[in-house]
C-alpha cells in the first residue's frame, strides 16, 4: 500500500510539473506503477495469508512473469469483476500455471486470469473449492500453444464452479479431474478444445451452462491408470450448440481425438444422465457415446482393472436439432456418405460400438427422444455399422442430485 501511495504521489508530482504537456501522459505511468506495486504485494499476501483472510484484488491489470501460489487454508481471493481485475501472465517466464493452490476452503471470485503459459488456475488435493465469476482466457484466440486447462480442480472434494467463463484452452476450458462431489453451473465455455470436461470424477452435476464454439461441448471422460474411475454424472439444462471448432489440441492429449463438431461426449463412463439440454448444430453429432478405445488406447494390458466400456447411460428429454451434417475425420465422413448419402446427416447419437461381451444385461445405453443412433462398429473397423435403435430403447432410474452441503 505504501509503495502504491508513493507511486501515485510521483505520478501526481510528474503531472503537476507539466513540461508543457498535458498531465494526461503521467497518469497512465502512475497507474502502471501502482499496478506493478500491487502485483508484488499480491505475491506476499499469498505467502502471508492466514486462514479466513480475504485478499482483495483491485480493478486493474496486474502482470506476473512467474506463477502465483497459495498453500494456506480458508482464503478468499476476490477481484472487482471478471472484466475489471485481471491477473495477466502474458510473457510468463517461470511456473507451469497462472495460479496454483494447494489449500482447503479456497474461494476464487470476480477476477480474470489471462494468458498463462500453462494451466490458468489449478487447485489440487483440496476440499471445499469455490470458483465464482472467474474468467480464464487466452486472449490470442485458440492456439495449440495456449495453456491446457482454464479452471482445473483435480483430486478435490466438494467443488463449486459457477458463473465463470473459459476461453481458448488447448485442452479443456473448465476441467474437473479425479474429484468427488462437484457442481459446474451457470458458466460459459467457448473456443476451447473441450468446453467443459468432467474426467474420472464421482458425483457431478453440470447444469445451466453454455458450451459453444468449442471442438467438443461437454465431455464426460474416464481414462485408465488414474487414481479413481468416474461415476454418477448428470448433465442437464445446458445449451450445447455449434461446437464445430477445428481440434487444436496437441496430439497425445485425450481430447485431441475428439472430432470437431461434438456436442456432448461420454467416454468410458458409467451411470450418466443427460436430460433437459438444448443440443444443436454440432456437425459430427449432438451426442457421442464412446469407449477409451476410440481415443487411441488400444493396449488392453495397459488398462489393468479399468472398465473401458460406457454403461448405464440415460439420455432423455433433451431438445435436439441439426448437427451430424458435416462430420470431422475421413472415416466419419465416409461412414456418413455410406449410411446416409451425400446430403444426409448422422442421427443425434453416434456410438462407437465397443461393448463388454461378458455383461449379460448389455451396456444399457438408453436413448429416448433422439432422432436415431448409429452404431459405428468401431471394433469391426466401421465395416458393419447399424442404425437399429431397438437395443437402445430402455429407461434407467434417475440419478440423485449432488448436494454440496454448503447450507
Amino acid at each position: 500500500m505504501k509503495r502504491t501511495c508513493v507511486a501515485l504521489a510521483i505520478g501526481f508530482a510528474l503531472s503537476l510539473s507539466g513540461c508543457g504537456k498535458q498531465g494526461g501522459d503521467a497518469a497512465p505511468a502512475g497507474k502502471a506503477e501502482a499496478e506493478a506495486g500491487f502485483a508484488a504485494e499480491l505475491r506476499n499476501k499469498l505467502l502471508d495469508a492466514k486462514p479466513g483472510d480475504v485478499i482483495d484484488v483491485p480493478a486493474g491489470t496486474f502482470h506476473f512473469d512467474r506463477s502465483l501460489s497459495l498453500r494456506v487454508d480458508g482464503v478468499t481471493l476476490r477481484g472487482q469483476g471478471m472484466d475489471k481485475s485481471i491477473l495477466s501472465f502474458k510473457g510468463q517466464k517461470a511456473g507451469a500455471e497462472g495460479l496454483l493452490v494447494n489449500a482447503n476452503g479456497f474461494t476464487l471470485e470476480n477476477l480474470a486470469i489471462e494468458d498463462s503459459k500453462g494451466d490458468g488456475f489449478k487447485i489440487s488435493q483440496a476440499e471445499n473449492v469455490t470458483v465464482r465469476g472467474v474468467r480464464v482466457e487466452w486472449t490470442g484466440g485458440p492456439k495449440t500453444s495456449n495453456g491446457g486447462y482454464g479452471l482445473y480442480p483435480v483430486l478435490c472434494k466438494n467443488v463449486l464452479i459457477e458463473n465463470s467463463v473459459a476461453i481458448g484452452a488447448s485442452d479443456s476450458g473448465i476441467y474437473v479431474g479425479q474429484s468427488r462431489d462437484v457442481i459446474v453451473r451457470g458458466s460459459r465455455a467457448e473456443r476451447n478444445v473441450a468446453g467443459i470436461e468432467i474426467e474420472n470424477t464421482i458425483n457431478a452435476d453440470v447444469y445451466d451452462n453454455v458450451a459453444t464454439g468449442n471442438t467438443g461441448g461437454i465431455l464426460v471422460f474416464n481414462m485408465p491408470a488414474l487414481t479413481q474411475q468416474g461415476d454418477a454424472i448428470r448433465v442437464f439444462r445446458n445449451k450445447v450448440f455449434q461446437n464445430n471448432l477445428d481440434n487444436f489440441g496437441a496430439k497425445g492429449t485425450p481430447v485431441a481425438s475428439v472430432p470437431a463438431g461434438s456436442g456432448v461426449v461420454i467416454n468410458s463412463n458409467d451411470n450418466i444422465e443427460i436430460f433437459d439440454n438444448d443440443i444443436a448444430d454440432n456437425q459430427t453429432a449432438n451426442i457421442i457415446v464412446s469407449s477409451v478405445y476410440s481415443t487411441g488406447y488400444k493396449d488392453d494390458k495397459a488398462s489393468g482393472e479399468f472398465d473401458p466400456y460406457p454403461e448405464r447411460i440415460y439420455v432423455h428429454d433433451n431438445r435436439l436439432s441439426g448437427g451430424g451434417d458435416s462430420p470431422d475425420r475421413m472415416d466419419f465422413k465416409a461412414l456418413k456418405v455410406a449410411m446416409y448419402g451425400l446430403g444426409g446427416h448422422f442421427p443425434d447419437v453416434l456410438f462407437d460400438g465397443y461393448v463388454n461381451p461378458q455383461r449379460k444385461e448389455g451396456p444399457q445405453l438408453c436413448l429416448r427422444g433422439v432422432s436415431g443412433v448409429l452404431n459405428a462398429d468401431g471394433p469391426g473397423g466401421y465395416k458393419n455399422p447399424s442404425k437399429d435403435a431397438k437395443p437402445f430403447d430402455c429407461a434407467l432410474p434417475s440419478l440423485p442430485a449432488v448436494d454440496l452441503k454448503r447450507g
Binding site: A40, R43, N44, L46, L47, D65, R66, S67, S69, L70, R71, Q92, K93, A94, G95, A96, L100, N102, S116, K117, G118, D119, S124, Q125, T144, S145, N146, G147, G148, Y149, Y152, V154, L155, A169, S170, D171, Y175, G177, Q178, E199, M223, P224, A225, L226, T227, G249, A250, K251, G252, T253, P254, A256, T295, G296, Y297, K298, D299, K301, A302, G304
Partner: protein, 378 residues
C-alpha cells in the same frame, strides 16, 4: 571516553576473532531471520565462503538439475541429536536440523561481478569444504530448517558484493549468461522460488502439506565424499561416525548410481536421474500423482513409469506425441520432449530450470532408445 574507546577496541578485537572462530550455528525455533548470516551456518571470511563448526558438507550420487548451477550442500544438527535411517524416504532428521544448499556458478577469470557465469561440471567444494569467492558467483542459499512443527524452507539471495544473502520469500528472477567451454552462450532466467514454490517440490506428500528434504535419502547419500582433512569416506558411514546418523541396518544399503557414471548400467543411471529430478512429484503421493506417471525409485510397474502410457493433463506438453514413453522411440516419446523444452507451459520439471540439461536429455533418450521396440497401439 577511554571506556568507550576500550569498548570499541574490544569490539574490533572480537570481530577479528570472529573471522577465525565464529559464533556457533544459531537455530531459530521460530521467526524468519532476515539475513543468512543470522544462522551462521556458512559465513564469509578472508575471501572465502566457509562452513561453521559441525556443519558437514555432503553430496548426492545424482543431483537435481538446476540450470547448471553448482551446489554446496551442508547439514548441521544440534549436539547430541542424530538423524534416524530410513530405507526409502529422506532420513528422519531431528528437530533443530539445518540443511543448507548454496547455489553458485564458477565465473570466468576476471569476470567477477558480471552476469556471465560458466557452464561446467560441479566438482564439489574446495578441500576445506568451502568456496573461494574470487572463483565463483554465489546466487542463493536455501535453508531447510526442521522445527517442532515440521520443516520450513527459506530462500536467501546473495548480494552483488557477495557479502550477505537476504531472505527473499517472494522469490526472484535473475538474468544470467551461461558461457560454455566451446564459447557458446545461453540466457538463463534463473528462478529463485518463492516460499510456496519451495513446497512445489519439497511437498512430497501434497495432502499433508508437510515438506521434506529431497536429497538426503540413503540411496542418494550412499557414496564416498572427500572430507576436509579426513580423507575420502562413505557418507553414510561418516555420518554414523560423527554421530549424525543412527539405526542404520546391517548389510548392503540402497544405492543409486551416478547418472553420469559410464560404468553403471544405462537403466540404473536413467532411473537414478528420474528419481532425483522427477520422483519427488511423480510418485504415489506427490503433486504429479494426478498424471498417473510415477518416476521414483520404488516404482516398478512399467505402465506407471510411462511405457505406452497416454498423458492425462499434459496439454500442449505432449508435443504432438501420443505416449509418455514409446519404447525404442525417443522421438515419439513425451518424456524427452518435455525435458527438451524451456517453455514454462511445456517443460518438466515445472520449476527450477530455464535451460535444457543436454546431458540429462541424452541419457533419457539413450534409455528409451535401448528399450525393446513395442507398438503401443494407434
Amino acid at each position: 571516553m577511554p571506556m568507550r574507546r576500550f569498548l570499541a577496541a574490544l569490539g574490533l578485537a572480537l570481530l577479528a576473532a570472529c573471522t577465525r572462530a565464529p559464533a556457533p550455528v544459531a537455530f531459530f525455533a521460530e521467526g524468519m531471520p532476515e539475513r543468512l548470516s543470522d544462522w551462521n551456518v556458512v559465513y564469509v571470511a578472508d575471501g572465502r565462503l566457509r562452513l561453521n563448526a559441525r556443519v558437514e558438507p555432503y553430496t548426492l550420487d545424482s543431483p537435481l538439475f538446476t540450470d547448471y548451477a553448482h551446489k554446496l550442500r551442508t547439514v548441521w544438527m544440534p549436539e547430541g541429536k542424530a538423524a534416524r535411517y530410513q530405507p526409502v524416504d529422506a532420513l528422519d532428521f531431528p528437530v533443530g536440523t539445518i540443511i543448507s544448499k548454496t547455489f553458485y556458478y564458477p565465473v570466468p577469470d576476471g569476470g567477477r561481478g558480471g552476469d556471465v557465469v560458466l557452464r561446467s561440471a560441479d566438482t564439489g567444494p574446495e578441500p576445506d569444504g568451502g568456496l573461494a569467492l574470487d572463483k565463483v558467483r554465489l546466487v542463493e542459499t536455501r535453508l531447510l530448517v526442521r522445527r517442532e512443527a515440521g520443516w520450513i524452507a527459506l530462500p536467501y539471495v546473495w548480494n552483488a558484493e557477495q557479502t550477505e544473502a537476504r531472505l527473499m520469500r517472494s522469490g526472484e528472477l535473475l538474468s544470467l549468461t551461461l558461457l560454455a567451454a566451446d564459447g557458446s552462450k545461453a540466457q538463463v532466467d534463473y528462478t529463485v522460488p518463492d516460499e510456496n514454490q519451495c513446497a512445489g517440490c519439497h511437498g512430497t506428500d501434497l495432502k499433508s502439506k508437510a515438506i521434506f528434504p529431497i536429497g538426503p535419502k540413503a540411496r542418494h547419500l550412499n557414496r564416498d565424499f572427500a572430507y576436509p582433512g579426513a580423507g575420502s569416506e562413505n557418507q553414510l558411514a561418516h555420518w554414523q561416525k560423527i554421530g549424525y546418523l543412527t539405526d542404520v541396518p546391517a548389510g548392503e544399503l540402497p544405492k543409486n548410481p551416478s547418472w553420469d557414471d559410464p560404468a553403471a548400467p544405462l537403466d540404473a543411471r536413467a532411473r537414478s536421474y528420474l528419481d532425483i529430478n522427477c520422483g519427488h512429484c511423480h510418485s504415489r503421493k506427490g503433486a504429479a500423482r494426478t498424471s498417473g506417471m510415477w518416476l521414483d525409485a520404488t516404482t516398478r510397474d512399467l505402465l506407471r513409469l510411462g511405457r505406452c502410457k497416454l498423458p492425462i493433463a499434459a496439454g500442449q506438453g505432449t508435443g504432438n506425441r501420443p505416449w509418455d514413453i514409446a519404447p525404442g522411440k525417443p522421438d515419439d516419446s513425451i518424456l524427452p520432449y518435455r525435458m527438451e523444452s524451456v517453455d514454462p507451459g511445456v517443460m518438466m520439471p515445472e520449476l527450477g530450470r530455464s535451460v535444457v540439461h543436454a546431458e540429462g536429455v541424452a541419457l533419457i533418450r539413450d534409455w528409451i532408445a535401448a528399450m525393446p521396440a513395442q507398438d503401443c497401439g494407434s
